[in-house]
Symmetry: C2
DNA sequence: CGCGAGCTTGATGCCGATCAATGCATGTGG
DNA sequence: CCACATGCATTGATCGGCATCAAGCTCGCG
């Protein structure tokens, strides 16, 4: 037992956007090598966030956007009376912090659901650079617009779907995003609790649990705690589209 | 009775942003006169939309943003099975169409709830101009960010509030925005039906109607069809904040 | 091993949906 | 001007889905 202590290298010393394996999912989408170098110059720092810790909280001064490099986050907003609502789950390549631009303060909390790492993108420098690089400008606008469209989808879900439809939509969305990242579309491990899923979907944790059980009884899923096996994706899709009617 | 027929001039021949009475609410916020002239140059056309008509529909090609100049709109998204969800109501000075940037197609319908008029803002020209005018760039980003924050607020409402809280929050938001535009905060005329309110709030029209009646019984509102008199704004506020607990 | 956080499952109750009838305002044609 | 149609709103009765309350269960971890 005289061996040297293990050196855990979670990341290379410096990973530039230009050589990041997330570049096709993240801010650099569609940029040339030359442009990427400019972006590299402003995305200089990285930050690790331990599971359960907040990347930022509502009320914090806004200075940077964050691109998830590894790990998993939730964002949530809170009402004065303590009620809160999970507004989204973010995985590798996704941008967090857009809420802060409007008022120079963050309006939600971003919490790591597992040990995570983000790239820090100083917002004012991004603004400046996007004035020069129209491809970057365009892509940044697209990202914000898609966030708005995503939110509208969640509003539709919250406003007009029943519990099982909501969970089905949630699972399809998750598997879709995991597939984009090269993971299996049928086998996944949930990073969040039933309560967090429930908060996102406007349901209580018991209702989420029951919906999982029902999907299992119906042969749509195999559920073992947080390990989910999607056996019948078509059935999920039909639930969402309301073909049941 | 030989007088000339009355000439109804709904608008001056051309209203530049620089002389528009909405400029403090709209895209020009915080811009200098010089910058405003540049903006005027790209906001060249206006469009009138009759009550019930769509400014655009989901699937339409995206080319422009629209600033409401007069009138009132709703936006709504639809699921494949026909269910739809009102995602917002827009009044003078507010921007419509941000959803289209992400995919170059609109993802929602924008429908006029009364005869309305919008300023057409060609998006590519706006992009171009905002590369030159950092104030414009910043303000445009703020507008998008605030839209995201607003959506998060609606998600909180849909996910965790009960019917009367939702309606109270809706009314407070409306009166707040009307006040900003110089209207009375206590007396308003709803531009939308109970069903549209219900769709926005994730409720059925009967539930909306009952909530109105209850507010009237409690002396919080005076309700006569679409004419609403807010008698006790503090009571509404307390409902939203959950001080009832 | 035993604790505790998270999950499952059952029993019960309530809020809001649904179904149904009536009321009210506006408009249209006889 | 009235009769009638139409669209929207109100109100009542009933139903059902999800919340709530309450046990147990599972699994990871100190």
């Amino acid at each position: 037992m005289e061996a040297a202590p293990p050196v855990i290298r979670l990341e290379p010393f410096k990973v530039a956007c230009s050589s990041c394996n997330l570049r096709e999912l993240c801010l650099p989408v569609g940029m040339s090598n030359e442009q990427l170098e400019r972006l590299d110059a402003i995305v200089a720092t990285r930050r690790t966030v331990a599971r359960g810790d907040a990347l930022f909280r509502a009320g914090d001064a806004f200075a940077s956007l964050y691109a998830v490099r590894a790990g998993f986050f939730k964002t949530r907003v809170s009402a004065e009376d303590g009620r809160d609502q999970v507004t989204g789950f973010q995985m590798a390549g996704e941008l967090i912090g857009l809420d802060g631009i409007g008022t120079d303060r963050h309006t939600c909390d971003a919490v790591a659901l597992e040990d995570s790492q983000v790239c820090v993108i100083p917002y004012h420098q991004l603004e400046e650079l996007s004035r020069e690089l129209s491809d970057l400008q365009r892509h940044f606008h697209r990202i914000m617009s898609r966030e708005i469209v995503r939110d509208h989808g969640v509003m539709l879900l919250l406003g007009s779907m029943r519990a099982e439809e909501r969970l089905a939509a949630f699972l399809l969305n998750l598997t879709q995003r995991l597939r984009t990242r090269g993971f299996s579309a049928s086998s996944l491990i949930l990073r969040m609790t039933r309560e967090e899923i429930g908060s996102y979907l406007g349901l209580k944790l018991e209702t989420v649990s029951r919906a999982f059980s029902r999907f299992q009884d119906d042969g749509i899923l195999q559920v073992k705690q947080r390990h989910i096996e999607v056996l019948d994706p078509d059935a999920l899709q039909k639930l969402v589209n309301g073909t049941s009617c």
